[in-house]
């Protein structure tokens, strides 16, 4: 069966420091991968998605970037964190086959920028 991992689970970083959050998926090949930010009372906001290695689409211009160095690895980064980057970050995957449209979510990373 497929599983999705995210780490770290929680992170506290100072303003201006770099960020790297990692997401990996097991048990599937060529998944679509997604990064979301979940804000209280505002649902999930799609940040980035990827349909393949090295292919990244950005939904919202911001202080973050994403990379997909391997088929089942998705990384969310920042060179200099802002206070507004604090939040709960979720990684998700979906099968590449169009008929299966649901997304499967990881446990999330709680980021606090001080």
């Amino acid at each position: 069966s497929q599983t999705i991992h995210q780490w770290p689970a929680t992170l506290v970083q100072p303003v201006g420091s770099p960020l790297s959050l990692e997401c990996t998926v097991e048990g599937t090949s060529n998944p679509n991968l997604y990064w979301y930010r979940q804000a209280a009372g505002r649902g999930l906001q799609l940040l980035f998605y990827s349909v393949g290695i090295g292919q990244i689409s950005s939904e919202v211009p911001q202080n973050l970037s994403a990379s997909r160095p391997q088929d089942r690895q998705f990384i969310l980064s920042s060179k200099k964190l802002l206070l507004s980057d604090s939040g709960f970050y979720l990684c998700a995957w979906s099968p590449a086959v169009a008929a299966y449209n649901e997304q499967f979510f990881g446990p999330g990373t709680r980021l606090t920028v001080l």
């Binding site: 679509n32 979301y36 009372g41 999930l44 449209n101």
Partner: protein
């Protein structure tokens, strides 16, 4: 703009009460519809989904949802809630048949069930 609205931010019910959580979307084309649930301290997980066919969809744990195309709605229901249903519920809509990435989420509804 395409959007998903969940009208209730926080719902408080007693055990055995009936539940209905509203979800409306603004998109005139083909949609796939989902309800996700996030129990305290756990991953978001799928409750149920609608792609086509019977507009009344049954999911896990006794939940069901009805797609009413004319009302652009996909309300979630459960006839008798339990304390273990305490969680946050998210409606999600995939807008458009081909683009798997265009999934919009509502703001969520927090359900508290009192024992």
């Amino acid at each position: 703009a395409q959007s998903v609205s969940q009208h209730n931010h926080h719902v408080i019910l007693s055990e055995a009460a009936s539940l209905e959580l509203g979800c409306n979307y603004s998109y005139g084309g083909t949609v796939n519809l989902f309800w996700y649930v996030q129990y305290p301290g756990q991953h978001l997980q799928l409750l149920l989904k609608y792609f086509s066919g019977d507009p009344l969809v049954k999911g896990i744990k006794g939940f069901e949802a009805e797609f009413i195309k004319s009302k652009f709605s996909f309300n979630l229901r459960k006839p008798s809630v339990q304390w273990s249903d305490t969680a946050e519920y998210f409606c999600a809509v995939k807008m458009g048949a081909r683009n798997n990435n265009d999934m919009r989420f509502g703001a969520g509804t927090r359900l508290t069930v009192k024992p």
